[in-house]
């Protein structure tokens, strides 16, 4: 196996006493001495700082915005062309079968697109982009650039104290900021369901910036453990678990991310991989769907738990794809796929944990209301 890679913040994580674990080829902090539970609660109450530099950052550039946007639209079922300068959108790469190859965020920065993709998929994503877009559109991976997230209700005050323009950004805006003299690219978005920012910064500036942020009372370093419980409570998908190459966006309940202009009857309908399958599914619905699952007892229901429609006997109607304890909810939370007829909010189902069927109900996502500044 190859040696684990380090982000520009590796030494700082070790200095802070983080427990480091392998994740997507990187040695990453899963938790700090505070522990997952307190890190999670701190993020929802104040501000949590996450190192997400393992994620892929890629610039797409070309003759002009229209050329770049139209090229990127051949890979994703999103309205790219209509994205205003300084705005960001959620999206995903699809395959010919209509499955999801990776999910991503893309932002318009002038005539360019900045794409942020999952760490585990980034090599495949870069290869996909190069194969499809070059030479007309240049694909430039920002291999070493750091990415940090500052999330929580206290994030705005912290960043605005360094650059007042941070407060003027709305949810899904992107802007250039100067944080204590350091030039960064910021977006007002994240993966926790809280208000907050993701900050792309040159590798040599990352540690000093993070130290300056951590010096503020509201800010604590948060590991990947709490990042996972925060996104689960927020109802957000984890690629490779809640969505994958065999999941189409309709069953994944991600149709909100496919704008009308790319759907049947839209001005730029189809024209992305798997368009026939996805447009048909948009029309006919899916046999299964991703839903929130709320266990009634205290026992967490984790990935792989099979869901039944009866306490005894009955039929297997689904599977948990992400599950665990939700510190803000104060109990177990999960999401997974169930047969469409079992997917109505409030439906009583049972998950089999250690040979016992335990009751749960289909629940509305997110489990914790979003704190976005729209």
């Amino acid at each position: 196996m190859d040696a684990l890679k380090h982000t520009p913040l590796y030494d700082l994580h070790v200095e802070l006493g983080a427990k480091m674990v392998p994740f997507a080829g990187y040695d990453m902090p899963v938790q700090y001495p505070m522990g997952v539970m307190k890190e999670h609660l701190h993020t929802r109450a104040a501000a949590g700082l996450f190192d997400v530099s393992h994620m892929g950052q890629v610039i797409l550039s070309g003759a002009d915005w229209e050329a770049v946007a139209r090229a990127f639209e051949t890979l994703v079922p999103m309205d790219v062309l209509g994205l205003e300068d300084g705005r960001q959108r959620y999206g995903f790469f699809t395959n010919e079968a209509g499955g999801i190859e990776d999910d991503l965020m893309f932002a318009r920065r002038g005539e360019d697109i900045l794409v942020v993709v999952n760490a585990a998929c980034k090599q495949a994503d870069i290869a996909r982009l190069k194969a499809a877009l070059e030479p007309d559109v240049r694909v430039t991976p920002l291999e070493d650039r750091a990415l940090i997230a500052l999330q929580g209700p206290g994030a705005e005050a912290v960043l605005a104290g360094l650059d007042a323009r941070a407060a003027a950004m709305r949810f899904m805006d992107v802007a250039d900021l100067e944080l204590g003299g350091t030039a960064v690219w910021a977006s007002r978005s994240g993966y926790t369901g809280e208000d907050g920012y993701e900050i792309s910064v040159a590798p040599g500036d990352a540690e000093a910036l993070v130290r300056a942020l951590l010096a503020q009372d509201a800010v604590e370093a948060i590991g990947l453990g709490a990042r996972d419980s925060l996104r689960l409570e927020a109802g957000l998908c984890l690629y490779g678990h809640d969505i994958d190459a065999a999941t189409n966006p309709v069953e994944a309940a991600l149709t909100w991310a496919i704008q009308k202009v790319r759907r049947q009857g839209g001005a730029r309908a189809g024209g992305f991989p798997g368009a026939a399958a996805i447009l048909a599914a948009l029309d006919s619905g899916a046999a299964r769907k991703r839903v929130g699952l709320l266990p009634e007892g205290r026992a967490p229901m984790r990935e792989g738990v099979v869901i039944y429609d009866a306490a005894e006997g009955g039929t297997a109607v689904g599977t948990v794809t992400s599950g665990g304890f939700g510190p803000t909810v104060g109990g177990p939370v999960a999401m997974g796929y169930v047969a469409a007829q079992a997917g109505a909010i409030g439906t009583s189902l049972w998950g089999e944990v250690r040979g016992k069927r335990l009751p749960l109900s289909v629940a509305k996502l997110p489990f914790v209301a979003a704190g976005f500044k729209r």
């Binding site: 539970m37 307190k38 967490p300 177990p332």
Partner: protein, 119 residues
């Protein structure tokens, strides 16, 4: 107090053994969010899975350290699993058992040996 290689402790009290997990084990587990205790009165054999603990990270089984009968369980843990992190070698005992073969205790470590074991 005696310690096992499975990171459990046993403390004799009124002719019974009180059983819990060590401070080291609790630290390794992380925040405990769920504890499932056995029924009182059941007969167990050494290495039977008798308790399930779930932390924010994963589920773990606690094994019966010796043969015997479970006489009492600490039901306070069911409502307040976080006690396992707060006081693993005190208030957060899991169960008491009447042991059937005291010789099974012979291999267990004293505190000094356990500290050396966990290095």
């Amino acid at each position: 107090m005696k310690f096992t290689e499975e990171h459990e402790w046993l403390r004799e009290e009124d002719g019974e053994m009180v059983v819990g997990i060590t401070i080291h084990a609790a630290e390794q587990l992380g925040d405990v969010v769920f504890v499932e205790l056995p029924d009182e009165g059941i007969t167990v054999s050494k290495d039977d899975e008798v308790v399930v603990i779930e932390s924010v990270k994963a589920a773990s089984d606690i094994l019966a350290p010796v043969d015997g009968v479970i006489t009492e369980v600490n039901s306070a843990l069911t409502d307040n699993p976080g006690m396992v992190n707060d006081d693993p070698q005190g208030e957060a005992w899991f169960f008491k058992m009447k042991i059937s073969d005291p010789e099974q205790m012979a291999d267990f470590m004293d505190e000094a040996a356990y500290q050396k074991f966990i290095g």
